[in-house]
Symmetry: C2
Subunit: 349 residues, 2 copies
């Protein structure tokens, strides 16, 4: 990438939370495997109203239930961004995607992706974007000029989802809580701290990509001052007892200054995923440790419930499992995707 | 900076702890204020044997007690690096320094600095270094390609200095412990985690500049596997109750997997320096919290002593103060610069 473009990319992101331009055309290409299309599926599930359609090269590709559009149709309907909804093999970008992205960018559509290889490093695409006046947004790249954490309390209420481990439902729990809060007439905003979350929310900061010194400052920026009765529902990252990612969780916790935490867990998980030598901490220890650390910046922090991903449990055991946890901790306990999160919100308000 | 040089800079640092080339010529220039020359003073105090001399433009400039050398004399005596021992106004670089640095680099001397503005961004200097076959080493820039933390225990013993706050003696305590261990015939290496420490040690990783996801992995890399009876004495960063830097401390703690911690404190300090709304935690809480978190990766972690910077205490109160702390915690308690650290090492071995 030429130096001039590094400069412009860094200016683009200067001192701001990433913000995407809707409506989206979700790129699926010829991806037939659902697990490789989770990002697109998440956007279509949670933010259908921001999606104009999906772009598929083949009818056998994953279907998000959105209208199939050609690039020309999407442009005619005012699409703001081409959002890469699939993981690309090797973390790079396929020839088929590159071709579509170049055409979209040269017609002024932003290109949004969270791939390992930054799209902005592809010269032909950067060129097309410059010509079309489009942005190339790598949601893995955090904003520049982040501040140091202040520890100063901001107006507004904040809820943070925390976990016994990574990848067990912190994002989906936060999204469901925000949805249920809004349905109840509460003011609530989902705040995304990871790449898929950012693509769903349309804005956010990829917290785990932030330089350590600025982690708390970035987390403070993520949920800025707001109305006293407004809830920021913040997507957690990592886990406070995780052998590699605990510092990320710690920084997000401090910067979020949560009034409330919800502990997320996956039924049947016994060890840290990918770190088989590490047993999962108990839910009790996760509550205690998160509250101890959070109270340094918000003495009123409390835990309002437990959110369990029960997908690994036989359906017949689900209810007993949740009830037993709820009794043990004297807290509402739900599978948010099945039960919703009303009981957690009752506990809050 | 042209793209070609970004590439070469990133290759230089690829997958390695930064390592400097001695002996050093320490740049003082015309700096007359001791507080702006702390880096140079630290190198001269702790690593006199690695210093060939000092470069001063004026006899009224700060004197580290090293031979005054011209650049020509230093080159003739085989100087490996020009080390910027002063803070530069505005975080940039003065014309006087730039002139010397260009001449040194074009003659093959590495240029080492920890300024806010990376030296490698100065085209004329980059050019001189390329021609002279020299490296420009910004000790604030961490290595590329850092790994994710593994949590796997490594052979060798590790001691980490932790603090009730930042900037109260964690680096000096670690340096003194390593010095005293070596004097006693123990195998010991000082491991630097910050820029001044790196310039003193000649190698290390600026932990607070590492992207959060890789913080634990960087800390693991900093004290690699070693002989079973070898001690890595690791310079701590931040403080576990610090409102902005706690995550940095947490990551360094996990990656260090310390067998022993030493808590550093400054007598009379009551609040977090620069964060006046935050009371300093008690030494007890600092010990408890650090050990709780460290035991996730090393169940045998213990605290072996307290190190106090007593410079703010009247001399007559010093001894009583240390004795009272020692009795309260049943731990050796020293001002390392005055008392040395023998009593802490006794507790270890």
């Amino acid at each position: 990438m030429p130096a001039s473009e590094i400069q412009s990319t860094s200016k683009r992101a200067s001192n701001s939370v990433l913000t995407l331009k809707p409506p989206y055309l979700i790129y699926v290409g010829d991806e037939t495997r659902a697990t490789y299309a989770k990002t697109g599926a998440g956007i279509a599930y949670w933010r259908k109203d921001m999606c104009l359609g999906q772009f598929r090269n083949d009818v056998s590709a994953v279907d998000f239930g959105l209208p199939d559009l050609t690039l020309g149709e999407a442009l005619a309907q005012g699409a703001g961004s081409l959002v890469v909804g699939t993981a690309q093999i090797g973390g790079g970008i396929s020839e088929a995607l590159l071709k579509v992205a170049i055409e979209a960018a040269s017609n002024g559509m932003d290109i949004v992706a969270g791939l390992h290889r930054p799209l902005s490093s592809i010269e032909a695409l950067a060129q097309a974007a410059a010509e079309g006046g489009a942005r190339i947004i790598d949601v893995r790249v955090p904003p520049q000029d982040l501040p140091i954490g202040t520890g100063q309390k901001r107006l507004g209420k904040r809820l943070l989802t925390v976990g016994t481990d990574c990848a067990l439902g912190k994002k989906y729990t936060a999204l469901q809580i925000q949805k249920d809060m809004q349905a109840r007439g509460l003011k609530a905003t989902f705040r995304a701290s990871g790449q898929t979350g950012i693509m769903i929310a349309g804005s956010g900061i990829p917290i785990d990509a932030v330089v350590s010194d600025f982690l708390v400052g970035a987390a403070e920026l993520l949920s800025p001052e707001n109305d006293a009765d407004h809830w920021d529902v913040i997507e957690g990252q990592g886990a406070i007892f995780h052998p590699a990612y605990a510092p990320v969780s710690h920084g997000l916790l401090l910067g979020s200054q949560p009034d409330a935490i919800v502990v997320c867990h996956e039924a049947k998980r016994t060890h840290v995923s990918g770190w088989p030598d590490f047993e999962l901490p108990s839910i009790k220890n996760v509550i205690v440790k998160n509250l101890e650390l959070a109270r340094r910046v918000n003495p009123n922090a409390i835990c309002v419930g437990i959110s369990v991903n029960t997908s690994k449990l036989p359906a017949a055991e689900r209810e007993d499992y949740l009830k037993s946890l709820s009794d043990q901790y004297d807290l509402p306990c739900v599978d948010p995707i099945i039960d919703g999160t009303s009981s957690l919100i009752d506990k809050l308000v």
